[in-house]
Symmetry: D2
Subunit: 309 residues, 4 copies
């Protein structure tokens, strides 16, 4: 097996020279300010070693990657009854998902499209006030990453709140179908803030360890979720983690992953490692362009794939 530190440095070097870097998300004004030249990557192996390259300690907006963690929390709260309110199928929709919301009566296709994540947040909100729910999400992220310094980027949160008309539409649309328990504004408030959490590649890879370790914290051996639940979350990441590019990511990279429009991707090699990569430019379906290429290269070099022996 090649030495991970060398592999990561090679990848970071190659990515630094890449000129086709995709397009930084501009629909959230605050995200549009991020420098497209940034690139970071971090790998935390199940035996506890951490390898990084590039801007691996620079915090970025995790955006939709937060959905993996709120899903984990919601399953902890209500178990499989969550699936009455959210599906488990890829959306298969190049546009976005409001079409299917209409056709499927307000039940989002999966927890990783925006509509589905709003339902998940609605569950996490449960009886709490938005501020407390957000506190619990932060608490969970800090616990998983073993890092108390993780915070919400208030400027990003404000920017999302002011310009998130599409998400406001989705939330109200589901409310019309009775698939949102709380006042849409409350659920949206928590959602906009969870997306605005800032984490570095190192922190994110640490937070993802339980998915690589069949549900346990590999450091302490403590169980975060059951083995079955960890596997199922991985399955959802593989089939639905990259919107309408999920099939392509599975085809090229071959491991579960979840992307965010901040340019981050969390990826999981079951039994081996948790990976986070960050490059702000996005491809046409809204996933980090260089992030996916870097992961494909890393997986191929290391022989990591869930589809081979």
């Amino acid at each position: 097996m090649p030495a991970l530190d060398k592999v990561l440095n090679d990848i970071a070097d190659t990515m630094a020279k890449e000129t086709r870097r995709g397009k930084v998300a501009d629909y959230i004004p605050q995200l549009a300010k991020v420098d497209p030249a940034r690139f970071g990557i971090a790998v935390v192996t199940n035996d506890g070693e951490t390898f990084t390259a590039g801007d691996a300690d620079e915090p970025f907006s995790i955006q939709s990657i937060s959905k993996v963690f709120t899903l984990t929390m919601a399953l902890g709260l209500v178990g499989d009854s969550l699936w009455k309110r959210v599906g488990r199928e890829p959306s298969g929709n190049p546009f976005n998902s409001i079409v299917q919301l209409e056709r499927e009566q307000g039940v989002p296709r999966n927890p990783f499209i925006n509509a589905g994540a709003l339902v998940v947040t609605d569950v996490v909100l449960s009886q709490h006030q938005p501020r407390e729910a957000l506190g619990q999400i932060l608490h969970f992220l800090r616990f998983l990453a073993g890092d108390e310094s993780i915070v919400v980027d208030r400027a990003v949160a404000r920017s999302e709140t002011e310009t998130g008309f599409r998400n406001i539409a989705l939330a109200n649309y589901m409310k019309a179908f009775g698939n949102l328990e709380h006042d849409p504004d409350k659920t949206l408030g928590v959602y906009f803030h969870q997306c605005a959490v800032a984490m570095s590649c190192r922190q994110l890879a640490m937070a993802g360890r339980f998915l690589a370790a069949d549900g346990r914290n590999p450091e302490t051996g403590g169980r975060v979720v059951s083995s079955q639940r960890a596997r199922r979350i991985n399955a959802l990441m593989l089939t639905c983690g990259h919107y309408d590019g999920s099939g392509d990511f599975a085809f090229h990279v071959g491991i579960p992953g979840k992307s965010g429009v901040g340019g981050g991707i969390l990826a999981v090699v079951p039994g081996k490692a948790s990976i986070a990569v960050w490059s702000p430019g996005l491809n046409q379906v809204g996933n980090s362009q260089l992030g996916a290429i870097a992961l494909e290269r890393l997986a191929r070099t290391m022989g990591w794939s869930v589809f081979g022996p």
Copy 2:
């Protein structure tokens, strides 16, 4: 690890008692005649052992499972240029796929929906006459399974040809967009016959061995396809192999699989085993109802999952 023969027998016994068996496909008159009480299962491990239970030697119509093998052939013929004509994303469509054909200008979402498989067959047809192309498909299946007795069920083929209006529509629709090279009737002729191939669970599990063995025939060590190609076909099976139930199958069973409306499912445990199961009754999205349940039970009992260590 539990003994496979005992596990399979337990599963077959449980399935025999199951009363909710789904609904046998009736849109092809010949398929509607199959006894819903049948159940068979076969596992071929990478170290060459075969285990079976129930009606594992009874041939059934493989239908869409044939798409895995014609895809393998087409990739052998034209390589990655195939992907200009077919996508690699789940269709995410509860109805069927003609909607997306229209929206996406005649390019099917993936090679495992009917439209995509027709394009694949159009490639396999290449310069040949339909009869020769069909001969090559049979030849490939017999080679993979190591069994010269595999044949087309002519009654089923005739039944499909006479009632396959929807597939005729799909083929002509793609022809209108220029995404079919041959006369639609020719491509359809081969397609209807490849779907009408009859195989037993044992034969099917044998034919799938190269996908469990990273592209090699585990018996001879001979390479069927490259390691990368085998992994990619597995990835496509996982994300697209069960129509609009693919996410659910990944979630519950956790291994790549391809179903057919004849009630069969071919499933692959990379590095470990090739599996075929058969139960004619289908669930609401058109996949074998007991087949999926049996595979979920088998995978859980054996600890087989691509999403865990």
Copy 3:
């Protein structure tokens, strides 16, 4: 020509006995309280006579019928530039229109579906505050009807505001595409109130006179809109005035009309008469069931149709 008073009384008598009266709209709680047994009809001819039968002086919630009047106002404000923001085609959608909003980038198909009417209201709002804009709408309705007693039903307006999640979704969705100038809450505020205007059949028929009289107030001869504009509004009512039942209404009744979920329909016989009918029960596509039947009978008896000599 039969005597109108007798014709209307016959129709009202027949409708009183009708047992299949449709279903009163229940998604706005306040509307659900209306007695389904009510029926009223009023005809104002171009030579100034008024005929009524049944509950013709009972105010009801005009709902979407208000869209005809705000469209007239918006065209007065911005002329044909309105059509950059709204289409003029039937939506042809049995579900509702958010699907097409997505496909057509936030431009509603016509001004009579909810999304289109929201854009129209956004134009009427122009530089004003919601309260003033609503005042102008009321002023215009009172002027057209020659009746200062027309008011907003505050209980209905409040009920709509509290439960109008679907409209909130539509407004925010269009805002995301840049097709709403104002804060969605402001536009929605005016919209919910315009829909909650209460008018009787008599008042409504009076307000519609200018459409029957080629743009003039037939009483005073004063021009309300140009002849061309009146004809075009009639054309839009004919092709789009009854949602996905517009074709059927044109087929059976044969004159332009606009329905509202309060159970009212405003219909126009160009050159002859303005008609309003009210029966709270709705058919499957959301139009007054007995209202349409009454209009069909009236039109046939009187020989009124735009499709014959």
Copy 4:
């Protein structure tokens, strides 16, 4: 009222100078050969006068205009039971209609989209052989136009048969839903030939007289269809006669009309006149570009509109 001969000559002169003439249909190779500079117009008034200008005696392919006449025949054969198999609503679909066929289980939205016209032709075919059915269609057209010289353009018919994959798809798709009685190839054979009928503006305007004269042949006074049926066919032309440009045609021209991709439009002024116009270039939604403009000008000049007095 202006003199019609002068009005038509003015229009023809203006159209001759127009440089933006749209795009001649090229998906049927034979149609692509037509000279885009051609323009003809003919008006037959209810009192029996005929006025023409330009290439009014040049035969062109009537294409979808034939649907008006086969609809009239089918209603004569099976009456209102036709509406169990075809709807009466605008399709509202910018792409084409196969999407709605899927959603609405093989029942086309109206008789003027291709799918609906195929069902209508399937009815006309009834117990006959294709050749006889086509003979009856020709017979009916000759009778209406009072002109025995009307024939099918065999080259166009052959061209359509060889390249009509989309129509083949539609027919087979409906057959799959059980909404085609005959072998799709037979229905398609008649359909391709009815579309290939060649008629001049003069012949077409003559053939449309019964729709302008409330169902009668204005020359003989003989009844072709009932007054109600004539009005209903006009209503369908107005709401559905120009595909997804029907609303716009009603808005700008204000009278019922049916277009064909050969560049012809048949239009009806109830009680006054039957009009045919021809200019081969099509606009973006597939209707004759100059044809619609010429009709708008003619209607405005003459004060013809169903939406005014």
